[in-house]
């Protein structure tokens, strides 16, 4: 039995629309958001690497994205880049995100001077229900 749900884009007949002309089809998986959040890290204040830990409670490694401010040159306050950030000049100023079955981690290098007030680095994250690892 052929069953399911399809929604076509405006201007396309659902009976003849191709997959790319659909807004939604239950035939295909979708990225579903589990949680979003934001915060500020300031390795300059503490004088060492800062690793932010975000518990997700999913029990498996999820897919995720992290958007973050970067080093104050070339970064600007309130400009958000897709992580990771690797710093070419020298020192430990990188921003790296990684996930386990319990947490999302965002590591800010000890030499990172962010563009926000007091050299802080603002970040935002999206954790999906979808798996990021088998």
């Amino acid at each position: 039995m052929d069953y399911g749900l399809k929604v076509s884009q405006s201007g396309y007949d659902i009976a003849s629309a191709t997959d790319k002309q659909l807004v939604f089809s239950s035939e295909f998986n979708t990225l579903k958001v589990s949680s979003i959040g934001s915060g500020t890290a300031n390795p300059d204040d503490v004088g060492s690497t800062v690793t932010v830990e975000i518990s997700h409670g999913l029990g498996y490694v999820p897919a995720y994205t992290v958007f973050t401010e970067i080093y104050n040159v070339p970064g600007n306050d309130n400009d958000f880049y897709l992580a990771p950030f690797t710093y070419a000049i020298g020192g430990d100023a990188s921003i790296i995100a990684y996930a386990t079955s319990t947490k999302l981690y965002i590591r800010f290098g000890a030499d990172l001077d962010g563009p926000s007030a007091n050299n802080a680095v603002e970040y935002k994250y999206v954790i999906y229900l979808n798996k990021g690892s088998d």
Binding site: G4, S26, S34, F67, I70, D79, A83, F85, K124
Partner: protein, 117 residues
């Protein structure tokens, strides 16, 4: 207020017993929605952008032609000086720049989502 909403399970799963990961749609879980997508080109070491005017930092994806191999599309990220393609957003635009000397124009493909980053 009662329990209400829409669930659509993936093929092969009973919607009454499916886990969240076995659903194609659950109205209480956000699906990313595209505000604007498109393609353009950008010259070497030149900033390009698309205006979204959302008033907040949106989620985005930017792909750009690899200056060393036009058949490869790199994903834009924060590694400004090394990756070749930097991509970033503020509350009005999404930007990109390919940090290479000479060459181009390079193909760019972008998605800007309604969803808050």
């Amino acid at each position: 207020m009662g329990n209400y909403g829409i669930k659509v399970s993936l093929g092969g799963y009973d919607v009454l017993t499916a886990t969240d990961r076995q659903l194609a749609l659950k109205s209480s879980k956000t699906l990313q929605k595209v505000k604007v997508s498109g393609s353009t080109t950008v010259a070497a070491n030149t900033e390009g952008s698309i205006t979204h005017n959302l008033g907040y930092i949106p989620q985005f994806l930017v792909y750009g032609e690899d200056p060393n191999d036009a058949s490869n599309m790199n994903i834009g990220n924060a590694s400004w000086l090394y990756s070749g393609l930097a991509a970033w957003a503020d509350t009005t635009k999404v930007y990109w720049e390919i940090g290479v000397i000479g060459g181009g124009p390079f193909d760019i493909y972008y998605y800007v989502f309604y969803d808050v980053a």
